[in-house]
Symmetry: C2
Subunit: 570 residues, 2 copies
């Protein structure tokens, strides 16, 4: 403390001083010209200072590092350490992550893996404990996490509370297990995921303890939630893009209740658009005061989540700082984390060491799948088919006619008019569960695609126009321990190995992106996949039984509208 | 929790529902028409609800209860319970108090008394632990509190951190005992009291951990502190009135960093103007958006001090609610604390029970004072005299001439031209210390006034034009165990007994106010006190050696400019 005082007094040189900065002041919305003195990773003084090392910013802008206030690292398909290497150069120096995907595969150990792997990163990683493992009772995940299991981790450093409570019907109906989880996190933050609910249901959700929402998509949804005291994450992700609409609601009065998040962002979008810096740029483009946009990515999430030394440039704050060319182009020239230069011109200047991840490997644990296991018996009449929609994660329930749209052979599905077989194979606990269904408008010909990324339980999902290629694809995923694979004519064309839980690669984001692009091209060009859909993401969401209308899990065909399993034929 | 859910759902009637309210929404700055459902002291839902008891507000306004974010209860001269009875009807339902005065008298036990006495009040009382007991090394208080003593209380419920760190030179110079106190509260809030310091000194003060300031009096002071990340209390008290000036700085961008406080408010002002409701009214008059003014008294201090369930009207917040006629007149018609009606038309609807306060009584512990102890020996030449200024707590150092302005007899001060003798008698630990000085422009004739309220050490201060009456006044204060007394012609004219620590009465605020008014009249009319000064407050501040220019403590005459003791004659 004595050293700090001497430095703040100007009696002793700080380790590092930024000279002649245009300092973005998130407290007063001013640009202040001056120096920033840094020692031991934190800001000591703002004003006139001299340093052992001095960096003359010559009027460039200095912003606090950005905070992604709600993100699933797993959606990047890389490990936390590689994720850090990807987003730090884009200005995100802290994230609040919900390790929901890996917890669906590996339970508590999955969460611990993320905690361990993120312990000594240049990125500060805070966690919200996944609240819904499995996401629904209509599928088998790799684990079931109740309050008892979560209690082990709730008081850990860097754990800020309970992650998105998707089971809002459970909250509203007073499900005991759900309430126990909310009780566990009563003194902490509790994130929500309750779009569509309104009025008394929304009051109930909030009265039960839920404090944030990142699933708003309409102005009315956001306004109602703000009025009732919720904090709003304005999301701009790969699939869900809500910023342009929701930013219209933000004004000077409610600004402090609003933050930015990415939620889910795939490798390509991360590389192309960036992380939270993209939200800021879009918001400025939509007319938001640039300093307000920066506040939503710094001071606001820091205050809301209690990260007391983050989110501003003032004495006692962490020296997580971005050098920016100007507030129009908003190019991030340099990134300093804890006072150390960690990225320049969008390139990380550090290597990462991975934690011990052997527990996260070889997570494909299935019974032997044979051709007969993929048989779909059909009789004459109507068949319920999952119809894909262009550029959407929502599916429709279509009715097709055996003999007209669908050809059967020996009482079993043979083929149809752009109708493919899809199977979800439980892959965590070797139960042998297989759910079978038919999908329209995927377009695939002469092959199969399989993936262990299948929301939210992440069983194997496989689609194909012939059983042999489907089996080959499943075998390939078992062999590599999870990932995404393309098969044609009995031959594996290409595989993206996701050895960590079947969700994350051990490679860099750039390599994963390259491989995915290559596989996309093969899918479209060789396998003839419908170009109005993104095959891997589409596949991964066909298994999520909370988005309308018709979905498939390892337990069968699920009608989301009616919220129950249905048969292929009635 | 199940009951809460049923009520929020509207399936079960809430205990109390306000119908047809104009709800002041501090999240969005809107007035929302609707009902507010309350159960077990907290708000369950806002929208459409029915209750066992329903109160039809017919369009009246509903505001969150106000928070006084920095106040010394002792300045009201009543106990915490009587203070609650006085301010609750004026809309203040929570306070953040610094029991600095009673701690100067009774140390840790004084703080515990406030904690105990405020435990079951209708008012929520949070404490900041006094950081500077004694205030300066230039006087003897009743206790010395270092980090070690304070550590016993820092983690207590309702203790939010460290109170105003007045010893800013100690911080800036790295005084070890001061730094230990700051370390003790590192994870909590630390209030400041560091006006005038600027630039590197201010950076140092903040880097050392100080987070708030309530002593700003100029626009520049406030702006500089906001920029460096400090939270600002805008104060409107009895002596210090900063609102009209500082409110000019508040805008939509920095609003969230600003709060209202009263700091010190005497009985008369509390009864006449009120508490924080007065700050709000003044701010509205100065042009601040009424909802922003309310935010500064509710959501802002609640967020800043981490009072998570306070400061707004939404599910999960405490039902501390005010019914207000309209936002122009701003009359507080009813006050609900934890969902119970506790005041109506500015009258409390509850009685208070006092805690066991026997430890706080009989705090006047002095050696026998004799006439000779009051002798001031003088020789010919100049004498340093404390010159009072009209309507000010600042004094001047005047030089008077023996034989011209001052008459001596047997080498001792006899009388002067409106020059009186003043004595500060150490009254806590019977040290026998007596500081003697001369005061100009007090005006008193034929009598003496004495008080145990003498900032900040609260020794006995006595002023008079003859030693006999001064001794009688001291004897009277010893007899009653502390207070304020008026003496003339050897007879006690009137005494306000302040039996709690010599600072607080056991009577109600109204009775104390009445008695003070009566005594003021006697002071002016019978004792001929200068009408340009308030004699009791003036006396109580003559002993405070941190306000310019010349002061008197039990250790002698103190020159604040030079920051050292001086002799009456050089």
């Amino acid at each position: 403390m004595r050293k700090i005082i001497q430095i703040a007094q100007g009696e002793r040189k700080a380790n590092l001083v930024f000279k002649n900065a245009n300092i973005i002041n998130v407290f007063t919305n001013e640009i202040i010209k001056g120096d920033v003195a840094i020692e031991d990773g934190r800001i000591i003084g703002v004003g006139e200072y001299n340093g052992v090392e001095e960096i003359d910013l010559k009027g460039k802008y200095l912003a606090p590092g950005f905070i992604d206030s709600h993100v699933h690292i797993e959606s990047s398909m890389v490990t936390p350490s590689e994720f850090a290497r990807a987003i730090i150069p884009r200005g995100t120096t802290s994230i609040i992550a919900d390790p929901h995907e890996i917890a669906n595969v590996k339970g508590i150990n999955g969460i611990k893996y993320i905690l361990d792997e993120s312990q000594d990163l240049k990125l500060d990683v805070y966690l919200m404990l996944p609240s819904c493992i499995p996401s629904t009772p209509f599928e088998n995940a790799g684990a079931v996490l109740e309050a008892e299991e979560l209690s082990e981790l709730i008081d850990r450093d860097r754990v800020l509370g309970l992650g998105e409570m998707m089971n809002y019907p459970g909250v509203i109906n007073g499900d005991e297990k759900v309430l126990n989880k909310l009780s566990l996190a009563r003194e902490k933050m509790i994130d929500g995921h309750g779009p569509v609910i309104s009025e008394n249901d929304l009051n109930t959700y909030i009265a039960a303890g839920v404090q944030t929402e990142h699933e708003c998509s309409t102005i009315d949804e956001m306004k109602e939630r703000l009025r009732l005291g919720m904090y709003i994450h304005i999301r701009e992700g790969s699939a869900a893009k809500n910023l342009n609409e929701l930013i219209k609601v933000v004004d000077k009065d409610n600004l402090r209740r609003c933050m930015f998040c990415t939620d889910d962002k795939d490798p390509s979008d991360l590389l192309k658009d960036g992380s939270i810096n993209h939200n800021i740029k879009l918001a400025i483009k939509e007319g938001l005061d640039p300093i307000d946009a920066i506040k939503m990515a710094s001071l606001n999430p820091a205050e809301i989540y209690g990260l007391k030394d983050k989110g501003a440039i003032a004495p006692n704050y962490r020296a997580d700082l971005l050098v920016i060319d100007n507030l129009q182009d908003f190019n991030i020239l340099q990134v300093f984390k804890d006072g150390k230069l960690v990225a320049k011109d969008y390139e990380a200047l550090f290597d990462v060491t991975k934690s011990d991840d052997k527990n996260m490997k070889n997570t494909v644990n299935i019974q032997n799948v044979e051709k007969k296991d993929l048989n779909i018996s059909l009789k004459d009449g109507k068949v319920n088919v999952i119809e894909l929609m262009p550029h959407s994660l929502i599916t429709k329930k279509a009715e097709k006619i055996v003999g007209e749209d669908i050809i059967i052979e020996d009482g079993k599905f043979k083929r149809g008019d752009d109708i493919l077989k899809v199977a979800v194979i439980e892959r965590h606990n070797k139960t042998g569960n297989i759910g079978l269904a038919l999908v329209e408008k995927f377009g695939l010909k002469n092959g199969a695609i399989a993936s262990t990324v299948a929301h939210d339980s992440h069983n194997i999902i496989v689609i194909g126009d012939n059983d042999e290629d489907m089996l080959t694809a499943v075998d390939e995923l078992e062999r590599v321990g999870g990932g995404i694979t393309l098969v044609s004519d009995g031959r594996v064309l290409e595989t993206l190995r996701l050895s960590i839980g079947g969700l994350m690669s051990e490679e860099s984001l750039e390599i994963v992106d390259e491989q995915l692009n290559k596989m996309l091209e093969i899918a479209y060009e060789k396998l003839n996949v419908n170009k109005d859909i993104e095959p891997f993401m589409t596949l991964s969401f066909i298994a999520l039984p909370v988005i309308p209308d018709l979905k498939i899990t390892d337990l069968g065909l699920f009608n989301v509208e009616e919220f129950k399993f249905i048969d292929l034929q009635s």
